[in-house]
Subunit: 203 residues, 2 copies
């Protein structure tokens, strides 16, 4: 919290995990302050003592918390059977894909293997995801309401594009991603429009 009571988001413009939370904040019209944390500079500012004490990185927990304390508009459908679909899709992305292709893992894999590694993680996850979405999706991931699953989808598709993954085998993913990117909350939260976005990547 800032002195004026605004929540603070520790954020890195390019982090898909930060982006998820930024979308939730935008959808719920929550005004917040960004404190940039550069995941690359100084060997990764997230490893600094100050930052570890704040313990970020658990972004789905933050979104669930926002959902409980600021329930409108809802990001989880009230029906338990639909809700489990939203959480399954969110988990598939947040636990099944993103962690296997994130910065710290890629660092360990070595520069020359990074692209292949990331592509493999994303395509095998997207293969499963595309099948699931074919039975759950309406306009968005689950039916026609924006949900937590959509907050996970868009940043992951952006990562896929960054790693030059061919998206033609995933028509449902691509269609939903496109519809979501047309919404304001997904635009204002976009990595190309953050306080810490470098000038050359702004749009």
């Amino acid at each position: 919290m800032t002195e004026s009571g605004k929540p603070i988001l520790y954020s890195y413009f390019r982090s898909s995990c930060s982006w998820r939370v930024r979308i939730a904040l935008a959808l719920k019209s929550i005004d917040y302050e960004t404190v940039p944390v550069n995941l690359i500079k100084d060997g990764g500012q997230q490893f600094s003592k100050e930052f570890l004490a704040l313990n970020p990185m658990k972004q789905l927990a933050i979104i669930e918390y926002l959902e409980e304390t600021r329930p409108t508009p809802r990001l989880l459908p009230p029906d338990p059977k639909k809700k489990v679909l939203v959480r399954m899709i969110s988990d598939l992305i947040a636990s099944g894909i993103q962690p296997v292709q994130n910065l710290s893992v890629l660092k360990q894999v070595g520069q020359e293997n990074q692209l292949t590694w990331a592509q493999k993680a994303i395509t095998s996850g997207f293969h499963a995801l595309e099948q699931i979405l074919q039975s759950t999706a309406g306009k968005y991931c689950v039916g026609d309401e924006v949900s937590m699953a959509d907050l996970c989808l868009v940043p992951q598709v952006a990562n896929a594009e960054r790693f030059k993954v061919d998206l033609t085998p995933y028509p449902t993913i691509s269609r939903i991603n496109k519809s979501l990117l047309a919404l304001e909350a997904f635009q204002v939260s976009h990595p190309c429009r953050q306080p810490d976005t470098p000038p050359e990547l702004r749009a």
Copy 2:
């Protein structure tokens, strides 16, 4: 569901993700049937078409679903501030540690690097986790009630032991793990006591 209406758990005795769900089912006294899925045999039975259609692997979503449909005993504290702590710890393990040291990632890393890779993933996660638990733990991960965080902790510590991680730097993790393993739900769900546990690993 079986014909008699019992839920079916597609489970691998050694999988930490299956174990999490088994603990939840035991705590909530839900009778279920196990259908073993061997993650190693036949190149990984989880990749078969039948199984992909069932889409497992999203274990926190299953636990959240059980929590909503079978709320007693509760695995999430009612207070939103405590609940976010439970979910943060669960996410730290389920998204931050487990996916980086799971079977499919280790396969890609190559036999000779597996142990070092897994140890690194676990120790860096446990370093953060130990710090967090020092401020959240009572008898268990968050206060004195068993929660979803505990369901994630015990299987992850078992993985750490399997990968020969030295646990002395993590006294809080070790203490909580020991208390939890004394509870019946954590014992009946243990990998050494499952229908698909090979005879030489039974206890």
